[in-house]
């Protein structure tokens, strides 16, 4: 059956006026066979691998963007978690490795490269100890390398020693980039139940169990959903959910088509499609705006969790129907600094850290791009991470913390990161201390619902 004019112009409208885009095509790359005893050679092999396999990524994405008329905003690379690639590494070895990866990313034109990562939910190896010690310097001295550390899972519980450590890593990383409002922390994600095939930065890595090389596609389109909701201003919530689902279906189909074609041209396997409503600073491309359209005066007020739960679920249902291989995080992202409406709500005090935490129990990620006062103690940051990890652990879902204690700034001031990372008002943390909880260390045992066998 031939296409109708309505169908053709609806697609054009989605791209031109509603910011439909493919947010990222992320090339997942296995590095396990780059491991070896000589750290310098490992760094060389890793850089060569990135250069060779990602050489055509940018050019092919650009060509596809043009042919399909749908912008592909970012092309990125995610690699095997690097923490255990080198034998008896020193901190300097990790810094060298990160610099080699940074240079390779620059060469292939990739703005962020994920996978400078470690999975330590049950404990740390000696190499991972060194990795954690090197992490603040690595993040401060490289530009494109993104790190993530998994500290908890439903199956293993919460490794509180690693949680305590991450609080200190974040404080140190912020201090080392004090002149840029703690920018290094924007490249560091602390996870519970991290996924192997998430294409979105800064938390992307190519997990164990993945093939040699794969393309994962992250699609977005809060604008498309918001514009679709304009057409049902007075529908009941069943109608609203259905409208969101339909928009999600269309967005996903566009992403799947482009992702499969890109995999074919690069000669690598197609992995998954991650349909996540990821906001950008562009006006009209906001998750907060969708929530307000559903019926909130301000995102962050009472009712926000309910609206977000419905949004997240409807997005997943539309996506799952449209593609056989939905994976990654798939849901709605709530990065405060990257969402103009959420940013405004935080500035006005309508959106607080506590409400954000509640929201993360029903959406796909966690506390994302949240700026807090520079004098927030490391233990408090660790406690925030522990709370998020607990939500993830108990609910069998991924949660993450990407939080920035902005050096020298306090509540009400703005943190400015520039570019895609945007700017965020600094919001308050609770003053009461959790130092004793954090100092106890050990591991919070896996919950009953992790014992499924």
């Amino acid at each position: 059956m031939s296409l109708t004019l309505h169908e053709i112009f609806e697609t054009l409208h989605m791209v031109r006026d509603a910011h439909l885009d493919i947010r990222t095509v992320t090339l997942g790359l296995n590095l396990q066979d780059c491991a070896g005893p000589d750290p310098a050679r490992v760094a060389d092999r890793v850089a060569t691998r990135i250069r060779e396999r990602a050489a055509r990524l940018k050019a092919e994405s650009r060509a596809l963007s043009r042919e399909y008329g749908v912008p592909i905003v970012n092309a990125r690379v995610a690699v095997t978690p690097v923490a255990n690639l080198m034998q008896e590494p020193s901190e300097a070895d990790f810094l060298n490795l990160a610099r080699a990866m940074d240079a390779a990313a620059r060469e292939v034109g990739v703005d962020f490269l994920g996978g400078f990562s470690a999975l330590v939910e049950k404990g740390t190896t000696r190499a991972e100890e060194t990795y954690l010690a090197a992490l603040p310097t690595v993040l401060a001295e490289t530009e494109r390398v993104c790190a993530s550390v998994n500290v908890a899972s439903t199956h293993a519980g919460i490794h509180m020693g690693a949680v305590a450590r991450m609080g200190r890593v974040i404080v140190d990383a912020a201090r080392r980039t004090a002149d840029r409002d703690g920018l290094a922390c924007a490249k560091l994600v602390t996870f519970a139940n991290a996924v192997n095939d998430n294409p979105f930065m800064a938390g992307a890595f190519h997990g164990f169990g993945e093939p040699e090389c794969t393309v994962n596609v992250g699609i977005s389109g809060p604008g498309v959903v918001a514009r679709a909701l304009d057409r049902v201003p007075d529908g009941d919530l069943g109608v609203v959910a259905e409208t969101i689902k339909r928009a999600a279906f269309q967005i996903t189909r566009a992403g799947e088509l482009v992702g499969r074609e890109l995999s074919r041209r690069l000669g690598v396997e197609f992995g998954v499609l991650d349909l996540s409503l990821a906001p950008t600073n562009t006006v009209g491309d906001s998750v907060g705006e969708i929530l307000e359209k559903i019926g909130l005066e301000r995102v962050g007020g009472h009712g926000t969790t309910a609206a977000l739960a419905m949004l997240n679920d409807a997005v997943k249902k539309g996506g799952a129907f449209a593609s056989s291989y939905v994976g990654g995080l798939s849901g709605a992202f709530i990065p405060v600094s990257e969402d103009t409406v959420m940013c405004r709500a935080a500035e006005e005090g309508a959106l607080t850290l506590d409400k954000l935490e509640a929201m993360t129990s029903v959406c796909s990620v966690g506390l994302d791009m949240v700026a807090v006062p520079g004098d927030t103690p490391a233990e408090t940051l660790s406690a925030i991470i522990a709370d998020e990890a607990a939500i993830g652990m108990i609910n069998n879902k991924t949660t993450a913390v990407r939080i920035i204690p902005v050096p020298g700034k306090g509540v009400g001031e703005m943190a400015r990161f520039g570019g895609l990372l945007g700017e965020a008002p600094i919001i308050a943390v609770h003053a009461s201390s959790a130092a004793k909880l954090i100092r106890r260390g050990g591991r919070i045992p896996a919950p009953l619902n992790g014992l499924k066998n």
């Binding site: 296409l3 169908e7 053709i8 697609t11 042919e67 008329g69 269309q250 088509l257």
Partner: protein, 97 residues
Amino acid sequence: MSGAETGARIVVTVQGVDQVGIVARVTAVLAECRANLTDISQSVLGGDLFVMVAVADLQPDGASFEYLSDQLAALSEALGVEIRVQREDIFRAMHRV
């Protein structure tokens, strides 16, 4: 750089202020690139908004998608109307189950 396979089905859309010769000049570019028209529809809305959709098959011995796209971009500039060319499968994927 590899491109689309030849033989791709494309959709050309034109929107803008009506003027003499839009259809002629767009179809001339398509012909020059050996894109065989299979469907074309146009109308003028509200007195002066010209809207046109053309579906065509880019022949195996025809121009590359990039060349065609560049030619239409140049024409878009010259006429002062918006011309887009996209592969047809994107529309089909988004609107058909």
